[in-house]
């Protein structure tokens, strides 16, 4: 597969990610029904619990909670397994694999053929790493999949993120989708015109020139967006409409989150 096709495949994957997340965010599940402010604060707090816990079983409980919430929010476990858990095992798992042999400590066994010693501390550290990364990734994916991106942005305002940053984030997200399409079209047209194989230096020149063209287009787009904003009366002030309303289920879930997080911090010390 040529670099053009690989880049195309990356771009298409990027678009698919965004579209899949937006589709799932509209589904009728537990997390989708929650007030985004409670959801963002609750899931991020659980994520911090998983990062601070000094006991494996606490991280395991947080992971189990995340999986249960995924089931109740109609997030396919097969999708989670394939795209999150296995992907992490392939990356972090490989990184953690040498730890049982390298980390010094009490030797618990030796590998039969290689005669390498496995330490308890090494095994524990590999488990800590994989468990933490799996749990944190599951929680952040749940947040992404069950919340429309504009709700995440509004919820960030509750967390006192500056309004200029929130608006910039929102615009960036829109332009990522637009530029994804532009880049996809550029590479598609390049592929349709290319016959045979390019030399290495020529391939690099084409790839760098494509990045340059995309940057030029971005600059031009930025100028046009600016003019459009000015012509609609933009004077530098930014307002975010905040029409969230809490219901009974929000308060119940808030209580659940508070209990889980305080329990996690207490037992995970």
């Amino acid at each position: 597969m040529s670099f053009v096709e690989r880049t195309l495949s990356n771009l298409v994957n990027g678009m698919e990610r965004a579209l899949y997340a937006e589709d799932l965010a509209k589904a009728d599940g537990l997390l989708q029904r929650l007030d985004p402010r409670i959801k963002v604060i609750g899931l991020l707090s659980l994520l911090i619990v998983s990062a601070t816990a000094h006991r494996l079983w606490v991280i395991g409980v947080v992971f189990a909670v995340a999986v249960s919430m995924a089931v109740m929010s109609r997030v396919s476990l097969a999708v989670l397994a394939k795209r999150v858990w296995v992907a992490i095992l392939l990356f972090t798992g490989v990184i953690a694999l040498p730890a049982p042999f390298i980390v010094p400590g009490r030797e618990v066994m030796r590998l039969p053929l290689l005669d390498w010693g496995v330490t308890a501390q090494g095994l524990a550290s590999a488990c800590y790493l994989v468990a933490r990364v799996e749990t944190a990734a599951t929680l952040s994916v749940l947040l992404i999949l069950c919340t429309p991106w504009n709700h995440v942005l509004k919820a960030l305002r509750v967390l006192k993120v500056p309004v200029v940053l929130v608006v910039t984030l929102g615009m960036t997200y829109r332009y990522i989708l637009l530029l994804l399409q532009t880049a996809h079209d550029m590479f598609e047209s390049r592929r349709s015109r290319m016959v045979g194989k390019l030399e290495g230096a020529e391939r690099r020149r084409v790839a760098a020139a494509s990045a340059g063209v995309l940057m030029s287009k971005s600059l031009q787009l930025s100028g046009e967006v600016y003019r459009a904003m000015l012509s609609r009366g933009f004077r530098g002030e930014v307002y975010v409409l905040d029409e969230f309303q809490t219901s009974t289920i929000d308060w119940i879930m808030l209580a659940v989150f508070v209990m889980l997080v305080s329990g996690g911090f207490y037992f995970g010390r």
Binding site: F3, R83, G105, S125, V133, I144, G236
Partner: protein, 394 residues
């Protein structure tokens, strides 16, 4: 929806760093974000949001580009080198930080707790190192100079390696500082002695090349397609693009250096003529035709054809019309003929150069002022009609 993407090795995911390290790196990044935002707000006012948004989107996308590397493999770049060169370090810090935040919040690449660390390593350290290396290496070379391509490539390579070094340090100190009661590392398990070589070998040899190819390649592309994009980080260069394209590659002195050297050599070698015997063919004076010895030299130089008995009439008439200021290439007061030759050559060349300078000055177009040459082309395009009015309104 690949949330643990192995292609982006530089992004530290959640779980690799302790919350203390994460908090420290958020705190370390905060002043840079603050300063960057202040500086850009002053410069851009209302244009800040669209420019940062679109460039953050670009930074996000460029990380997806598959770059062909020497040796037939492909790799991914962060794009920090080219962002720092085109946008300057402060805008680059913000654009990349926003791109990293979007990746973490909306696409699940890189962690939320480790966002401060990722921003510190890639956006802050990367942008500043790339900018410094580029400015140092590019010097005051012309916008279209090949030296800028080399400087950009090395800036990208150095920046990504500096980022990797920071990431390796952060990962490597985890087992020293954070262990459970049994002594098992709680976060990244490998000490500096393993983390540093593991990160650096990969980046020095492979990941750094992707950044090198992207930074150098995009700068080379902009030199051909739109040199004004490179003006922001080339403040010493004040010429307009057309003029630069006419003198590609080098600054005024380095371009003219071989010519001046050749001229000096020719001046020094002018007395060589007096070493040769005989007279130059056709450079005869009217009186040579009546002198027996001179007639012999003319005949010898003309394949033994006898010269006419009398000097040609035209030569006789025109001979007295112009008398050289230094007859026989030597002023009367100079006794040594070699010195006379050198002096004559210096005067002659001096007159020619002076004449050329006078003609150039008469027909030269007015040059852009330093201020016009230094204006921020990336940020000032398109014109901002309400720029002053909105100042300070955000």
């Amino acid at each position: 929806m690949c949330y643990a993407d192995r292609r982006i090795v530089m992004h530290i995911p959640d779980g690799y760093l302790s919350p203390t390290t994460c908090a420290a790196l958020y705190a370390a990044s905060a002043p840079f974000w603050y300063v960057a935002l202040r500086r850009l707000k002053r410069l851009l006012t209302t244009r800040l949001i669209p420019l940062l948004s679109v460039f953050a989107a670009f930074s996000f996308l460029v990380m997806m580009f598959n770059l062909p590397l020497p040796g037939g493999t492909t790799g991914h770049a962060v794009g920090v080198g080219i962002a720092a060169i085109v946008l300057g370090p402060w805008a680059s810090i913000l654009a990349l930080s926003i791109a990293l935040l979007i990746q973490a919040l909306f696409f699940g690449d890189g962690g939320v707790t480790t966002l401060g660390a990722n921003c510190f390593n890639m956006a802050i350290v990367g942008s500043l190192v790339a900018y410094l290396v580029y400015r140092l290496l590019a010097g005051r070379a012309a916008i279209t100079a090949p030296r800028r391509v080399v400087a950009a490539a090395l800036a990208g390579y150095t920046a990504i390696n500096a980022s990797a070094f920071c990431a390796a340090l952060e990962l490597g100190i985890q087992p020293l500082l954070f262990r459970d009661p049994s002594g098992a590392p709680l976060y990244a398990p490998y000490p500096l002695s393993i983390a540093l070589p593991a990160m650096m070998i990969g980046h020095l040899s492979f990941a750094g090349l992707a950044e090198l190819v992207l930074s150098g390649g995009v700068v080379a592309y902009f030199q051909r397609a739109n040199p004004s994009f490179l003006k922001l980080t080339a403040p010493g260069v004040t010429r307009d693009d057309e003029e630069l394209l006419q003198v590609p590659g080098r600054g005024a002195w380095s371009t003219m250096k071989p010519l001046w050297t050749a001229l000096a050599l020719l001046l020094a070698l002018t007395p060589l003529g007096i070493l040769g015997g005989g007279a130059a063919w056709g450079e005869w004076a009217a009186r040579d035709f009546s002198d027996a010895a001179a007639r012999g030299r003319i005949a010898a130089a003309s394949r033994n054809l006898a010269p006419p008995a009398k000097a040609p009439q035209g030569l006789e008439r025109l001979y007295s019309l112009w008398t050289a200021p230094f007859p026989q290439y030597a002023p009367a007061f100079v006794r040594r003929p070699a010195l006379g030759y050198v002096l004559s050559a210096m005067f002659g060349s001096g007159f020619i150069i002076l004449g050329f300078l006078i003609v150039s000055a008469m027909f030269a177009r007015p040059r852009p002022t330093a201020e016009a040459g230094n204006k921020f082309s990336v940020f000032s395009e398109p014109p901002e009609p309400q720029h002053r009015e909105h100042r300070g309104s955000q």
